[in-house]
Symmetry: C2
Subunit: 337 residues, 2 copies
């Protein structure tokens, strides 16, 4: 039987502020004999995501924290290489949560068989066809209830979720789509690759001023991936009845002091604004609609999904640190197969 060992990453200690290599410990573990009802999976791609930083702290959140000294987990896609489960034969492509490793093993119920899509790499299940794409879809259409003709602002717009938000907004008839990103190169990709009308680099002075330049008639929908200064700028720019889909606050994830809140929250009252947080796992009922729409959009090139692929299970921690610094474009995955 192949893949008798699994190269994994343990959480060695809880990061203070920005994580460092010493917070992690790579280990190689022998996999136990396959039990009845279990499968063994050779991972092809594993995901690194900003939310994982939150799980490294020992505090309540929407999912429990990672345990110290235990292997990290997260989304992964791979193929069954050994099976004692009746419905998962060898060679089946599966999506599961035993990421941060090159080989996984567990009860068949933990692994979900997914169809192969021609001309689409299996890593898409970690991104545009997976939770990332569904997050963009649900956040924009269900949480923020974007209507045709509206102006949409997306932060971290060159990122995995943000780039898909902007493209769905375009396909669904937004009047104007603008985004922010963390470098001139990323800002260029917004307009040149993803069809945004305009973008700005959030390092270029006050976000409120930059946003006013690219959205002079205000904003109707803000898809918030970052919190902090850009959330305040967006609240200040929102038109009456504006909506914010609160998806993340990456600007605060590594802060050791509590961040300052937006000083203009009074506009929520004066302008009848709505701020609504969500997590995608509460909206899995939308997956069929989502896949039915996203499949054609991808095939027709109306949505382009960018990936940054880091090669090698030994670079998992590097990939995660790069992600937190924002040096990737599009969904960040690690090829471990």
């Amino acid at each position: 039987m192949s893949h008798e060992q699994s190269r994994q990453v343990l959480l060695a200690r809880r990061p203070e502020g920005w994580p460092e290599h010493d917070d992690f410990e790579p280990v190689t573990r022998d996999l136990p004999e396959l039990g009845e009802g279990e499968v063994r999976v050779a991972n092809e791609f594993v995901s690194v995501d900003p939310y994982m930083r939150g799980k490294m702290d020992d505090r309540e959140s929407y999912t429990p924290p990672y345990a110290l000294g235990e292997p990290l987990t997260g989304a992964a896609v791979g193929r069954v290489v050994a099976s004692r489960h009746p419905e998962l034969s060898e060679g089946t492509l599966v999506l599961h949560q035993q990421g941060w490793r090159d080989a996984a093993q567990g009860r068949g119920e933990e692994f979900r068989a997914v169809p192969e899509v021609p001309d689409v790499p299996t890593s898409a299940y970690l991104g545009v066809l997976g939770g990332t794409g569904l997050t963009a879809y649900v956040g924009l259409l269900d949480i923020a209830r974007m209507q045709p003709g509206e102006t949409v602002f997306v932060s971290a717009a060159a990122g995995a979720v943000g780039s898909v938000v902007g493209q769905i907004a375009r396909v669904k008839g937004a009047g104007r789509v603008v985004g922010s990103a963390g470098s001139p190169e990323k800002v260029r990709t917004l307009t040149e690759r993803y069809g945004f009308d305009a973008g700005f680099d959030h390092h270029d002075g006050p976000a409120a001023d930059r946003l006013a330049e690219v959205a002079p008639d205000g904003v109707d929908v803000y898809f918030d991936n970052v919190g902090g200064e850009q959330l305040e700028a967006a609240i200040g720019a929102l038109n009456r009845y504006g909506r914010v889909a609160c998806c993340g606050a990456i600007s605060a994830y590594n802060a050791t002091e509590p961040p300052l809140g937006p000083r203009n929250l009074g506009r929520v009252v004066t302008h009848s604004l709505t701020l609504r947080g969500f997590i995608v796992s509460d909206h899995l009922d939308r997956q069929p609609d989502f896949l039915e729409e996203m499949g054609p959009w991808l095939r027709e090139g109306r949505v382009r999904a960018e990936e940054t692929v880091v090669d090698g299970v030994e670079h998992l921690v590097d990939a995660f640190l790069v992600l937190l610094r924002g040096a990737n474009t599009g969904k960040m995955v690690v090829r471990v197969g």
Copy 2:
């Protein structure tokens, strides 16, 4: 023809921070001859409300600011004393927006005839049967979507809106209803008069600590009348899927510096919270449902509406200043008839 003069209050200058008497100018004006289609109304009661402070600043809000040197306006209830309008005969009880004065005159379309309710003073149309009651009803049931069994927290809970919110929550089956107020006497009225389970004085140390004592299992719905520290405390106490109806931010109305925002807004994401602002004038379609429910609640004593009545048109400014300092209990009205 009676009421040939109108005693009114002009905005003499825009207040800086807390308003003072010198910001206002009482005047007596002759009313012009009644034009075709016009009515003249002897006001019985006029309303003073916190939102009026916002209109005294020269800045964009949900309604235009008051003009300098012009009479202030607001809700008022009175009787037609002269009419050249076919549908509004003398003696008709009407609700309208020419408050801050003892006599009003204008086109009949500005005045809405309302039925007399036995045993209920006409001032109720400025409070529990008017915008105040509808604000409580819409905010709690439509904006925050309170469900039976949930824990509801109301700030400024002894006030006009807050006291009705708490009582509607009770009638609609809330599991626990708690509120904050600005004095020990007001806190006592919450439990003794309005049926709250518990309350606290927001001067008694950190709001987060006090709230944790009265709502140890967290809060599902927060009806926010004050913003600031109590909003932050509520966000920190909200259970997953918690909702905030953002109705006002009286704590900031007289601030000359922008207030600090809540430092825990990240919980909007981690706990799938919703903050939603609203103004009652967008929800007038709910008025029939509201009146149909509120009428019986009032008659059965299930909802008690308190008023602070100040007597005399010459005390309008005093009443408004008292309101801003929070020294009233329940709806603040001025008897001008």
